[in-house]
């Protein structure tokens, strides 16, 4: 690893909590982590080191934080209260704000219709199961507009607004 270009204060930008500095590399966060079985593996311990050492380039290009399934086992088991799952989310936030290609496509879906799926579109199936019609936000255009207006005031949407504008 090349430390010559490392930024010693990077952790303050990414995950500004002293708890991170208490990480002692014990690897508890890896045992039980499903994504540690991936290729490449998600190694929470290594990510914690990379943040503390300030390896900016490597971190920016690392895809593994996105393999996390959010099970929060690492959060539960970490003996030093690093809150590794919070750290994973923090790394993703930092990557996203520095690299627009990281913006998850799911948020464009959610912006457009309120959901990741076409909720409420399966009327026939729902009726056959004896289910009521759902009051989804997709069916409430004025509400959806308010939701979009609200999101426009948040960083990820306002800074990448071209992704959200209807064609």
């Amino acid at each position: 690893m090349d430390f010559s270009t490392s930024d010693k204060d990077l952790w303050k930008q990414i995950y500004n909590t002293k708890d991170l500095l208490h990480c002692f590399n014990c690897s508890t966060c890896l045992s039980g982590c499903p994504a540690s079985h991936g290729d490449p593996p998600l190694l929470v311990r290594n990510l914690a080191r990379m943040v503390v050492f300030g390896l900016e380039e490597d971190l920016l290009n690392d895809d593994t934080p996105w393999a996390c399934v959010s099970c929060s086992r690492c959060e539960e088991m970490c003996p030093m209260d690093v809150k590794p799952f919070e750290m994973i989310l923090a790394i993703r936030k930092w990557q996203t704000s520095n690299d627009e290609t990281r913006v998850p496509t799911a948020i464009v879906e959610i912006y457009k219709r309120g959901y990741t799926q076409a909720v409420g579109a399966n009327t026939e199936l729902r009726t056959s199961l004896g289910l009521p019609e759902l009051q989804t936000i997709t069916k409430m255009p004025e509400m959806l507009k308010l939701y979009q207006e609200m999101l426009m005031k948040t960083p990820v949407v306002s800074e990448n607004d071209y992704m959200f504008n209807e064609e």
Binding site: G32, P34, A35, H37, G38, D39, L42, D63, W66, A67, C68, V69, S70, C71, S72, R73, E75, E76, K83, F85, L89, R92, K93, T96, S97, V103, P104, A106, I107, I110, G114, Y115, T116, Q117, A118, V119, G120, A121, N122, L125, R126, L129, G130, L131, L134, Q135, T136, I137, M140, M143, L146, Y147, E149, M150, L151, K153, T154, P155, V156, V157
Partner: protein, 297 residues
């Protein structure tokens, strides 16, 4: 009691029979259901919680404030929705600055958030509010003679400080006791507390490894138990453990993986005598072996 049912995206869109089972069973047990009209995605961890706090917490606040305006707590089945909403609420309840910011953002709805509404998982409601005994006394049919195993949704266990409700997150028991109340024998197995691996990016970025990971769990169930079915209480666990078995059979070509997977409320609905076509019809692994036995009594 009355609770707002937060449905999320996958249940109403892909597995609405689970929604039907929830709507059918809870009122029979004294839990009336209100809807969260105009709700939005929880939001899923891979969406706004991965981009910035404003958009994450504003979406949580959007949902929480609809229930709060009705003066009701929220009940959730989907593990990720439960965890996302509950963590979002926790951030807001303990940070005045964040709460003030969210109130600024949702002001255009005319709603205000005070974080009075609590977020509760459906298995916790069934266990703590309804109780196994009432369930046992309400059902007309039972799972007598059948063996089941439990998939505990990790999103309801960890981090126990924020989302937990079990006496010990290392030794959860709510779903086991609830399943035993239906008359089933619950078998334990070595990988009981292993995640299914189905949520988030893992199964998309490493499909082969994720399949292998799920296989290790299913193999343990097949080798170590007499399981006739798997019980879950999370829509992602349900879809993943059900669908992955087909994928494994295609790879191995032997039809070895055929354990039906049920959401707890589906088993409950079947034991209450509701129509299987309405409450338990959507699945990949056929459920007839279990459903026929319940109907035959």
């Amino acid at each position: 009691m009355e609770l707002c049912l937060f449905l999320g995206c996958n249940t109403p869109a892909i597995r609405p029979d689970v929604e039907r089972a929830i709507r059918a069973t809870m009122p029979e047990l004294g839990v009336d259901i209100a809807d969260v009209e105009g709700y939005v995605c929880c939001p899923a961890f891979g969406s706004f919680p991965s981009t910035d706090d404003d958009s994450y917490l504003a979406s949580s606040g959007w949902n929480l404030s609809i229930a709060e305006a009705k003066g009701l707590d929220i009940m959730v089945q989907c593990g990720s929705c439960y965890s996302s909403l509950r963590m979002g609420r926790d951030h807001l309840a303990h940070d005045e600055v964040k709460l003030a910011r969210v109130n600024e953002l949702i002001e255009l709805t005319g709603r205000k958030l005070e974080c009075k509404t609590r977020v509760r998982h459906i298995s916790e409601i069934l266990y703590n509010e309804v109780g196994a005994e009432k369930i046992f006394k309400t059902i007309k049919k039972s799972l007598n003679g059948l063996h089941g195993v439990i998939q505990y949704p990790c999103h309801t266990l960890f981090p126990s400080e924020i989302v937990g409700f079990e006496e010990s997150p290392r030794e959860p028991k709510a779903l086991r006791l609830l399943t035993e109340a239906l008359g089933a024998t619950v078998d334990h197995y070595s990988r009981e507390l292993q995640c299914c691996g189905g949520a988030g990016g893992f199964s998309k970025s490493s499909p082969a490894e994720a399949t292998e990971f799920a296989k290790s769990k299913l193999d343990a169930i097949i080798e170590e138990t007499k399981a006739d079915f798997i019980v879950v209480s999370c829509i992602t666990c349900l879809m993943y453990l059900d669908n992955i078995q087909k994928k494994l059979n295609e790879a191995e070509g032997a039809g070895k993986y055929k354990i039906p997977v049920f959401d707890y409320n589906q088993l409950l609905a079947l034991c209450m005598g509701f129509d299987p076509k309405q409450v338990a019809s959507i699945c990949t692994v056929p459920r007839t072996s279990v459903i026929d036995k319940i109907i035959a009594g």
